[in-house]
């Protein structure tokens, strides 16, 4: 059974004078343990698709099933809880709470889930060690490089034991060394823990390391290749 099932999803932005059809009937199925890149030219609908899969935005038409649950028509608060307990997010930037340390940022998500303090701290330390930030646990985001911040974001995304991790252009602001480092960590987590990753990217080096590449063009899937 697939982890993410997108069925004939349309998304029309009506806020503008001329409605924009960002997704035009997307069908997609992603299984547990996949390492999938969504690629395509700017404006092809990558962010729109990821936002819908992540329950941040809702489809104008079509349906979405995540982890066996149809989330197409969930109410806002139910969606928030669903996201908290099922999906890990890594954004391009502004991932972290600036006033908290790396460790507190990772703990935060577990706090929202109601974990007790000891377990939170233990898991935060462990995750930060896994992403190679043992030395930075008590640093604030402003005291870390962009790559380090993204690694904290990955640790944070994993902290809640999500079903999968969504990342919209996670390496867009990173230099190539940091990009490689982040990808190493993601690939490692995918292979060792079978963590499912779905990410969008423009970066050929990132595309090269994906095992499945879905190409969007003008709101439709143009190709879907397993390597």
């Amino acid at each position: 059974m697939s982890l993410i099932q997108v069925t004939n999803v349309h998304r029309v932005y009506n806020e503008t004078d001329i409605p924009v059809s960002a997704l035009k009937g997307v069908n997609l199925s992603i299984n547990e343990g996949e390492f999938t890149a969504i690629v395509g030219p700017s404006g092809s609908g990558k962010t729109t698709l990821l936002n819908i899969i992540g329950g941040l935005d809702s489809a104008t038409d079509g349906s979405l099933e995540v982890a066996g649950k149809n989330i197409t028509h969930l109410a806002t608060n139910e969606l928030i809880d669903f996201r908290l307990n099922n999906i890990g997010f890594v954004f391009q930037a502004y991932n972290l709470i600036p006033v908290l340390t790396a460790k507190e940022n990772v703990e935060f998500i577990m706090l929202l889930q109601g974990w007790e303090k000891n377990k939170r701290e233990q898991r935060a330390m462990q995750l930060l060690e896994e992403v190679g930030l043992k030395e930075k646990v008590n640093s604030k985001p402003s005291q870390m490089s962009g790559g380090q911040q993204q690694r904290v974001a990955v640790a944070r995304a994993l902290a809640s034991h999500p079903k999968f991790v969504l990342a919209d252009e996670p390496t867009a602001n990173l230099d190539s060394a940091s990009t490689n480092n982040l990808l190493d960590i993601m690939v490692e987590l995918n292979q060792r823990e079978q963590m499912t990753f779905v990410f969008s990217t423009h970066d050929q080096r990132v595309i090269d390391r994906a095992r499945r590449v879905i190409t969007l063009e003008d709101g439709q899937i143009k190709s879907d290749i397993y390597k």
Binding site: P98, V99, E104, L112, Q113
Partner: protein
Amino acid sequence: MIQKIAWKNVWRNKLRSIILITSIALGIWAGLFMMSLTTGLNTQRIGNAINSGLGHIQIHHPEYTKEYNPKYFIKDTALLSQTLSQIPTIKSWSYHNNFTGMIASPTSGYGVALIGINPLTEKNTTSIHTKIISGTYFTSDKKNQIVIGEKLARKLKVELNNKIVVTFQDTSNNIISGAFRVTGIYKTASSSFDESIAFLNKKDLEKLAGTSSIVNEVIVFLDDVKDVAPTKNNLSTSLPMLQVRSWDDISPELGYANELMSIALSVFILIIILAMSFGIINTMLMAVLERKRELGMLISVGMNKRKVFSMILNETLYISLIGGPIGIIGAWATINHFGKVGINLSSMGKGLDSLGIGSIIYTKLDSQMYLTITIVVVLTALLASIYPSLRALRMNAAEAVRQN
């Protein structure tokens, strides 16, 4: 942790938070100080009027106060004395024999109220003996002494030990005059009082009028001004044939001024509260909109609306709860200080003098008012923080996380 984040968020923009905290503190401080000033002003005005002669309660023959005709005097002084001595809330009283008359100096003459007093008992009631600025207050046994106000002395162009002629109508409507020597000059906080009231020894007046000891006015002082109403009722029932009036029956304008000031104060407080609310709303809204992306991220990763709301609410409350106490404690210290040393307003003292306030104002505020203001400030802060907090909830996760 949400409280901790909120607390840290307060200090992200230190300058802005400090400005908001300061303006809240200043608003409260100014509000309380204004209140204490008007309360002090009013208390002094009323206190001065009461102490210099009004008393808390006055008792007369019911006809007397219509025309101030001395033929309407109190006949049964034995019952009166007995009644007064039996009411525990009464501190002291004095008997007057008053006449309306004229005082003439070689240069001019003025109409005045002649208060015939018993110097011994008078000192237990009114405070004129403490307001003597030159001469004495009936300390010698000499006959025909008169104590007049500083303003009247100036108008009559008389000095201490000068003689003046006092003319009045006695109980049988005869015109009587006598020469009196100015042995004391007093000055109260009220210049209108000082120009229209003269004190004489009751015995001298009665001798001049050829009457026996007469009482046509009783000035009653209580230990506590709060007991005025019940004591007045008590006296009215015990002395049904006499007229018993409280200070605010006699001088309702003192009470009106009280009301007027409290209306003006309410308006003033309202303005401060409005300004405070707008300050809070504006600043917090700015803080929320500036963090649009971050709040969107928090909602995206699973922070629910209740938690986002309470985080922003907490930020606002922290700011108010720092500013509030600073303002209240600052005001308390200032009010206490000026309650002791007073604020010298003699530069504008002339106006205040004619209002009967005096040129030094002692600030004063009921402890109850501090509580009220504290509650009002907390409520205002809470209400003012609702809008920015709601605004934070309107963040659309998908919109906020879009990177452009």
